[in-house]
Amino acid sequence: MMPVVLWTDALLWLLVAGVAGYALYARKRPHLRAPWRRVTRSTAGMISAVVLAAFVAVGLLDSLHYRPALEKNDAEGRTVYAVEVRSALDALIEPLRVRTEKTYSAPLATRAYAKETVDLADGTVAREFPRLRNGGAHLASEDARGRDVLLRAALGLAAAGVAWIAIACAVVWRLARTRGTGFGSMWGSVWRAETEVPWAAMLVTVGCMFGLAFPVAFLSTGYHVLGTDKVGQDVLYLSLKSIRTALVIGGLTTLVMLPFAVLLGISAGYFKGWVDDAIQYLYTTLNSIPAVLLIAAAVLMMQVYIDSRPELFPTAAQRADLRLLFLAIILGLTSWTGLARLLRGETLKLRELEYIQAARAFGVGDGRIITRHILPNVMHLVMIALVMDFSGLVLAEAVLSYVGVGVDPTMTSFGTMINSARLELAREPMVWWALAAAFAFMFTLVLAANLFADAVRDAFDPRTRVGVRGAAAGRAA
């Protein structure tokens, strides 16, 4: 196989490296570590972090691309690679990708959703719901489906239980070792929720996710757990593939937006005068164009650009990938204004503070003041804005794809899933599963992101710390 690094892959891993780098940097600095410690103590925050971690894991697996080697070598004996680009995730869930049907089928169905004319064995022709090629194909008799489904689900639950106990024991063992207490007493204090980090809640979350994922995995070896779509693709496969698209949109957009927002926002606030005027003019102008229209116009123009230069994009995957990247760039270019305005205001306040005035009086250079005194003191705003924006961007992708200015139609995303599924609502009986799957995955991802963002904001912004959290603690005490 031949590894392929798509643009978005590279940037996504760069983002991962950046986050890891920040984590290492913050580890050594108590003032940066303190708010993150507060995040780790928030139950809602940690539950959502566990859920987000699962989504990110799927997305990152889906960002390791390669071109599989073909079985035949070429004339000179060299390996030949397939044109199609696959990812590690594809390899992991190969059966889901390959075992397609002709068209729609309901979740766990053994027969297709639409009647078809079939030739019967006795030579006559009948219209009936044909058996699926893969869904329940292993069953000798369709009557056995109910038992088979239950059995597989039960086996899945059992496996989930085993895996969960293993993980729980590993976590508690590790905790016990770092604290130098016995396993038994640590186990007890975890489950009595006496630990500062809500391990119990996190383990329960992991348990719930295992309890869902394992039975689904066991079932998906024989069925289409979430049904199939119009062209017979497994909806579960599509949902898993959509995760990466959502992460790329949410993650890369912030990566693009960040330098603009930080650089321009801080410069405007710090230098004031004409610099401030110019930057303010720039973002007021950009802001005054309604976001959807600006994005639509930019995407339309990007389409024209891509279409008129086909020679630049050899494969469909690369084209779709580049379009995704462009979308992230366009979203980034249009969404830096909010954070920039926030940073400008904060910098205006900071630069009047005594210690910065003192630094200026001592002749410390502007660049040094900005990097040493201002940037660290506005980082919390950046962090809050980043996590808050993520969920909004995931939602925006769906809307933009509906409008027709989102990702490439060939690219799997929540937006394209909804878009193709909504047309089928009018069918009798209704095809609901693709929509339901998109809804469930998207809702979980966005809700987890929102709750995590709230926890981060509460931890970083002392002003918002009153309210529910404090009060809940008050009740508990």
Partner: protein, 325 residues
């Protein structure tokens, strides 16, 4: 104060010019009209003649900025920039690809757009403020806690699902109102009811949560403590002191979007088949009608800038500190 408003108005002009330049660059500099023509005509059957014809029909056959072949002032005016961008300032939008006059379309589509957007806007604010006040009043209790959880959950659902779900439930299962379409006059209420409801409900999550933070921030201020120390009841503190202060950010935040109500709602209009500006915009984007998209960008920005000026004026009305300056 008049001088202040005049100053704000003058400040708005360069922004509009900036918007105009950005759209011009986006539409004509990044890609040439030839690229657009090729894209619209379809890459396969493009002939140079077809491209020229396409450009001539739309007036894109002029030079971009400077027409050396024209006479006199025509050197400047007989260009794409002048014809397509400068004329926008006079709200002369030209014709769409289907040959209809864009300005005429805009004017006739504004009414259905407003019939949907104004109720969503007004009812939305009222509902969100009410929920936010409830949460703020019961702050630090389970009502507040679950209210926030509900709000965060609601804002985690894509608008698309609100529309699809609402359309399915109300129109198909309960058959209460028509699933889509529009008729002018009083009859429009029947068609607008469901989209308004969905518009309001889909906005509650984000709106109520935002207003709640505004209220809580105000409630943490010193003057609230003073009001309590006077022996005022909590309701009096909330309604007389907090609400009055919180309305400054809430109102001014709302005023910005008032002019944009004319633009209509993209999703709701297109799903419910309401012939407003929102669906006009979506259709234009999907049909890649560049003239219409460009016009809507300009109109949207213009209305936003009007909103900014209105915001400044409304500040002076609600906030005595600005009023007396």
């Amino acid at each position: 104060m008049t001088a202040y408003i005049v100053r704000r108005l003058l400040y708005a002009l360069p922004i509009l010019v900036g918007v105009n330049l950005i759209t011009f660059a986006l539409f004509f500099v990044v890609n040439t009209p030839d690229d657009m023509a090729r894209m619209q005509l379809g890459a396969k059957r493009v002939t140079p003649e077809a491209i020229e014809k396409w450009k001539a029909e739309r007036g894109y056959d002029r030079p971009l900025l400077w027409n050396g072949s024209a006479a006199g002032a025509g050197k400047l005016t007989d260009t794409i920039f002048f014809q397509k961008s400068v004329r926008l300032f006079a709200f002369d939008f030209g014709n769409a690809d289907d040959g209809r006059n864009i300005r005429h379309e805009i004017v006739s589509r504004m009414v259905p757009s407003l019939a949907l957007a104004i109720p969503v806007f007004l009812i939305g604010i009222a509902v969100n403020v009410t929920f936010a006040m409830l949460m703020a009043f019961f702050r630090a209790t389970y009502i507040d806690f679950w209210g926030v959880v509900l709000a965060v959950s609601m804002m985690s659902i894509s608008t698309l699902f609100y529309i699809i779900g609402g359309q399915y439930l109300v129109s198909k299962v309960w058959s209460l109102v028509p699933i889509s379409g529009y008729q002018p006059g009083l009859d429009s209420a029947r068609f607008v009811l469901l989209p308004v409801l969905i518009g309001v409900v889909s906005g509650i999550g984000g709106g109520a949560r935002w207003y709640r933070t505004v209220f809580l921030e105000e409630m943490g201020r010193d003057y609230v403590r003073t009001a309590r120390a006077k022996g005022l009841a909590e309701t009096a503190v909330l309604f007389r002191h907090v609400l009055k202060n919180a309305m400054i950010p809430i109102l001014t935040g709302a005023v910005v979007v008032i002019p944009l109500l004319f633009m209509g709602s993209l999703l709701a209009e297109s799903f419910f088949g309401i012939p407003g500006l929102g669906s006009y915009t979506i259709d234009a984007i999907q049909a890649q009608d560049f003239a219409v998209v460009r016009s809507m960008v300009f109109l949207g920005s213009f209305l936003y800038i009007v909103g900014l000026v209105l915001t400044d004026i409304s500040y002076t009305l609600v906030d005595p500190r600005v009023r007396f300056e």
